[in-house]
Subunit: 248 residues, 2 copies
C-alpha cells in the first residue's frame, strides 16, 4: 500500500452564491468547488469530506474537512496558498494540518460552535444584507438570553430538528448558549457536541419568538420536553448562520 | 413659485457592484440607481446631489445627499421605507431629514469621516474580500500610528491628491487620524474639513509603506511639505475605503 497523507483543512466561505456544502444536481456546491481546486494542485482525483453539511446561504468561518492524497511534494504550510490560488475569492483555506490516517473530519469531531447574527434596526444594511438576518421589530434580548439558557445541558432535540431528519438518536448536549449585543447587532453563540439538521436555525427562530413576546421564555423547558416541532418557532433564515469552529 | 421640499438622505451602500457614486457612461452608478428609485416614489423628475463622489468599489455607511421635490404626500419618516422598496439590497436609505431650502449636501458640509479597513493575515477572508484590503506582510502598526499623527493640522495636500485634480486650493485641515486594532483587523479613521480626490487612499497607501518599513515614519512631515505626489505612497485599493459620515 502506498503512503497516503491525510490532510485536514480549515475553510472560510461566504455561502451566498452556493447551493450549500454538499454536492447537488442543481447548483454549485462548496464541496465540488474545493474538490476541483484540490485536484488541480494534487494532480490526482481526491474527494473532500466535511465535518457536516451547511445549507445554501449558510456561512463558515471554520468549516473543517479532510482529504487523502498520495502527493507528497507540497509541504503542509504551502497547501493553503496553493489551493487558494485555484479557488474563487468567496472560499478561502485558512489552515492545513497533517493528520494521522484515522482522523476523520466528521467522526473525529467532538463538538461544534455556531453563531447566528441578527441586525435589529429599522432599515437593514446594504453591506450586511446577506450576512445578518434583519429584523425590524424591537427584540427583548434580556428575555432571549434567559430563554437561551434553557437549551444548556443534555436534551432530546426532536422538536428542534427538521421533521424530515432520518437520524435516530436526537439527544444532544449543549454547553454554551448565549447572546452578545453590540449596538443593533445581536449575536447568538451556541456550542454543543453535535447538532441535528436545522437545529440551530430552529433554536434561534424560537429565541426570536421569545424576543418578540410571542413565546414566553419560561415555557422553553416545556417546549423542549414536548419534542414537538410545532411548539418551537420557525426555522430562521440561512444567511444569518455561521459555522464558527469544529472541535476535536 | 410652488412649495418645494428639500430632503436630505443618509445612505449606506456596498460599492462593489457600481462604477462609483457619479453617473457615468460605462457602468451603473449609485446616483443613477437612487434617482430612478426616488422618481418612482415621488412621481416626478428629481435629481439627487451627493456630498461628493466615491470611486468604484468604495463603500459608504453614511453618504449624505439631497433632492428637491414638490411631492408633499409622503411624510418624512416614511420616505426611507418607500425609497428602499425600490432599491437593490446593496443600497439602503438609513434616514431622511426635512431641510431648509438652502441646505446643500455638498456646500453645507463642514467635514467628513472616512474609515479604511485592512486585513493583515496570511490567507485573506472569504467573507470580507471586497470589504477589507488584504495584506499578508506583517505591518508595524505602532509606526503607522505615529506616522498618522503627522497628518493632523492644516496642510497643503498637493502631494496627497491625484495629479489629475483640478481643484486649486489644496489646503485641508485634519483633526483626527488614528488606527484601531482588533486582532488581524487594522482600521484607520480620518476626520477632516474636506478631502481631495484620492486623498484618503494616498494617505493610507503611504501609511502602509510606513508599516512595511519602506517609508520612515519620521519622514512624514517632510513628505507632506514637499507637495510631491511621487514622495507619497501608492493609492490604496478602493474596496477598503468607507465614507463613514458627512458632518454639517
Amino acid at each position: 500500500m502506498s503512503f497516503e497523507r491525510n490532510i485536514q483543512l480549515i475553510i472560510e466561505y461566504d455561502g451566498s452564491n452556493y447551493c450549500g456544502w454538499q454536492v447537488q444536481k442543481n447548483g454549485i456546491s462548496i464541496q465540488e468547488v474545493l474538490n476541483k481546486a484540490i485536484q488541480k494542485i494534487m494532480k490526482e482525483d481526491i474527494c473532500i469530506t466535511g465535518s457536516g453539511r451547511t445549507d445554501a446561504g449558510v456561512h463558515a468561518l471554520g468549516q473543517s474537512a479532510h482529504f487523502k492524497t498520495h502527493n507528497t511534494s507540497i509541504p503542509i504550510n504551502k497547501i493553503p496558498f496553493a489551493i487558494n490560488s485555484k479557488l474563487p475569492k468567496d472560499i478561502r483555506i485558512q489552515e492545513a494540518i497533517e493528520r494521522d490516517t484515522d482522523f476523520h473530519s466528521r467522526y473525529s469531531a467532538v463538538g461544534k460552535i455556531y453563531e447566528y447574527k441578527i441586525l435589529n434596526n429599522e432599515h437593514g444594511s446594504a453591506l450586511d444584507y446577506n450576512r445578518m438576518y434583519h429584523i425590524r421589530e424591537r427584540l427583548d434580548v434580556d428575555k432571549m438570553r434567559q430563554a437561551a439558557k434553557s437549551f444548556l445541558g443534555t436534551h432530546d432535540f426532536t422538536g428542534f430538528s427538521s421533521v424530515n431528519s432520518s437520524v435516530i438518536n436526537k439527544v444532544r448536549t449543549i454547553d454554551y448558549s448565549d447572546f452578545d449585543i453590540d449596538g443593533t447587532h445581536i449575536i447568538y453563540t451556541v456550542r454543543g457536541n453535535g447538532f441535528l439538521y436545522n437545529m440551530v436555525r430552529i433554536i434561534i427562530g424560537t429565541l426570536m419568538q421569545v424576543g418578540k413576546g410571542k413565546i414566553n421564555h419560561k415555557d422553553l423547558p416545556m417546549i423542549i420536553d414536548s419534542k414537538e416541532r410545532t411548539k418551537a418557532g420557525p426555522t430562521a433564515p440561512a444567511h444569518g448562520l455561521y459555522l464558527q469552529k469544529v472541535l476535536y
